[in-house]
């Protein structure tokens, strides 16, 4: 009787797929490594971004706290219009979703807050600026 070749075993398969096996092993190692370092990097970036946002919002809140104190001492420290702007800034700050960074409106809200702060600064004739914030985007000529 002729020995029947077993169709489901290719004796050359391990040789031919050697590079594929190595690739898969390497891929798995890399992926596992990446998972670990990615988590760490992600954490660092998240901490940094969170800190920046928090610092900027804290800065505006700090300014507001001082202004509110000034108003308590002297009701007429600021004009009605400037007081209204300060109240609007306070509302914008309290509405900012601090615990929801994925909220896709945060960029918009931050822009509104920055603009409201600049309007108050312009009206007070003060040159105070939040140091950390990015300058305006690309130039167009």
């Amino acid at each position: 009787m002729d020995q029947q070749p077993k169709d489901d075993i290719d004796i050359f398969e391990p040789t031919v797929t050697l590079d594929q096996t190595h690739y898969q092993e390497g891929y798995k190692n890399g992926y596992d490594d990446g998972l670990v370092s990615g988590k760490e990097d992600g954490r660092q970036v998240g901490l940094k971004m969170g800190f920046q946002v928090g610092e900027e919002l804290g800065f505006y809140q700090g300014c507001l706290d001082v202004w509110m104190s000034a108003i308590r001492l002297d009701q007429d420290a600021f004009s009605a219009r400037v007081r209204k702007n300060m109240e609007q800034l306070a509302a914008l700050l309290s509405n900012y979703p601090l615990s929801d960074p994925e909220n896709n409106q945060v960029q918009d809200m931050m822009e509104k807050i920055r603009m409201k702060f600049r309007v108050i600064m312009a009206s007070l004739g003060a040159k105070l600026d939040y140091e950390g914030r990015p300058t305006s985007s690309k130039e167009d000529f």
Binding site: S79, R81, M115, R118, V119, M121, A122, K127, S136, D140
Partner: protein, 352 residues
């Protein structure tokens, strides 16, 4: 008109030199004392503002140089309606307010707020509001308070590009802005400090410009305005509707396109100015000045505009600004990239 005979011509009467760089803009003081002679302010790339007055011998001299305040180009200047204050808009992102009293100029306030180059400033007729606009695409409205303090009333965002010029309506508190985004926007408030855009004039919907709009000027009555553009045309608009009034219901009326003046300049028209009479002057990148007259005809649906003359080679380079003298409606001033300011007199019988 004035019965003077002779062919119509725009005669150059004076050439004012002094700016060390291009002359960007001009402003005539609108409110002088009785019998006082005209005062012209010019500003430019040399970071200064120059004040020009007629000398006793009839020539013109530079009586003041306002310097050491702006540290970049002064792009435009505007006198308050009472003639006592001069606002200067600069590429250094600030607008300075100068007080003119006792023949002396003093910088009494500096308005900061724009993110980059301020292009234009305009005082409302009521005198208490000042509008500024900038490459940052925004228009700021300021209100003057006692003691030379200026409060920001509103920041108007809507243009999608550099805003080239702002101009208040001569009577109402309505503001017009024109931009690199090819549109003209009209702004009004609801009586409660809330300003919003009440109309945008575009190419698609209103027969508007197809390229950057550089300049806007109202006629004296405020029922017409002229705009000019990089598309080499001037457009006249019917602005008789009071857009500051709230509309009830549908059918919100709008400002309408009246006429497009095309084929008169071969390059970007940078400036247009409507005199207190019926004349419109335009200055362009083809170094020419064109003068048009509004003709009221009962035969046509509305006024039409006729070219009176084209002054070729009025300057050696681009003309950035043309301004009619409020006290003498036949005198025109022009400012150019060639650094000079020229004074012209319109002579002859227009009606002939």
């Amino acid at each position: 008109m004035d019965g003077r005979g002779g062919a119509v011509e725009l005669r150059e009467t004076h050439r004012l030199t002094g700016h060390a760089d291009r002359a960007w803009a001009l402003a005539w003081n609108p409110n002088l004392g009785a019998g006082a002679s005209p005062v012209l302010a010019s500003c430019g790339g040399d970071k200064t503002v120059r004040i020009w007055k007629r000398a006793p011998d009839g020539g013109w001299q530079c009586t003041d140089v306002l310097e050491d305040t702006h540290n970049r180009t002064v792009r435009s200047c505007a006198w308050s309606p009472d003639g006592k204050l001069l606002a200067t808009a600069s590429f250094d992102a600030t607008t300075a307010i100068w007080e003119y009293s006792g023949g002396d100029f003093e910088c009494v306030a500096t308005l900061e707020g724009h993110e980059n180059e301020v292009k234009s400033a305009s005082w409302s007729q009521s005198g208490s509001l000042l509008a500024t606009c900038s490459r940052d695409k925004a228009v700021w409205i300021w209100e003057m308070q006692p003691g030379n303090e200026y409060e920001c009333v509103a920041v108007l965002q809507g243009h999608t590009q550099d805003v080239k010029m702002v101009q208040w309506h001569p009577i109402l508190d309505i503001l017009v802005s024109v931009s690199y985004d090819n549109t003209i926007k009209v702004w009004a408030d609801d009586g409660n400090d809330e300003w919003h855009c009440v109309q945008t004039l575009t190419e698609a919907d209103n027969c508007g410009h197809s390229s950057t709009v550089w300049s806007i000027s109202f006629n004296q009555k405020g029922n017409r305005m002229v705009t000019c553009s990089d598309d080499c045309t001037l457009k006249i608009w019917d602005t008789s509707i009071d857009l500051s009034q709230p509309e009830t219901g549908e059918g919100h009326e709008s400002w309408q396109h009246v006429s497009t003046l095309t084929g008169y300049h071969g390059r970007t028209i940078f400036s247009a100015h409507w005199s207190s009479g019926d004349f419109i002057a335009s200055g362009a990148g083809d170094d020419a000045i064109c003068l048009f007259v509004e003709e009221k005809s009962s035969m046509v649906e509305g006024p039409s505009y006729r070219l009176i003359l084209k002054k070729e080679k009025a300057h050696d380079m681009d003309i950035n600004s043309v301004r009619w003298c409020p006290q003498d409606p036949r005198v025109l001033a022009s400012a150019s990239d060639d650094g000079t300011v020229k004074l012209w007199e319109l002579r002859g019988n227009i009606l002939a």
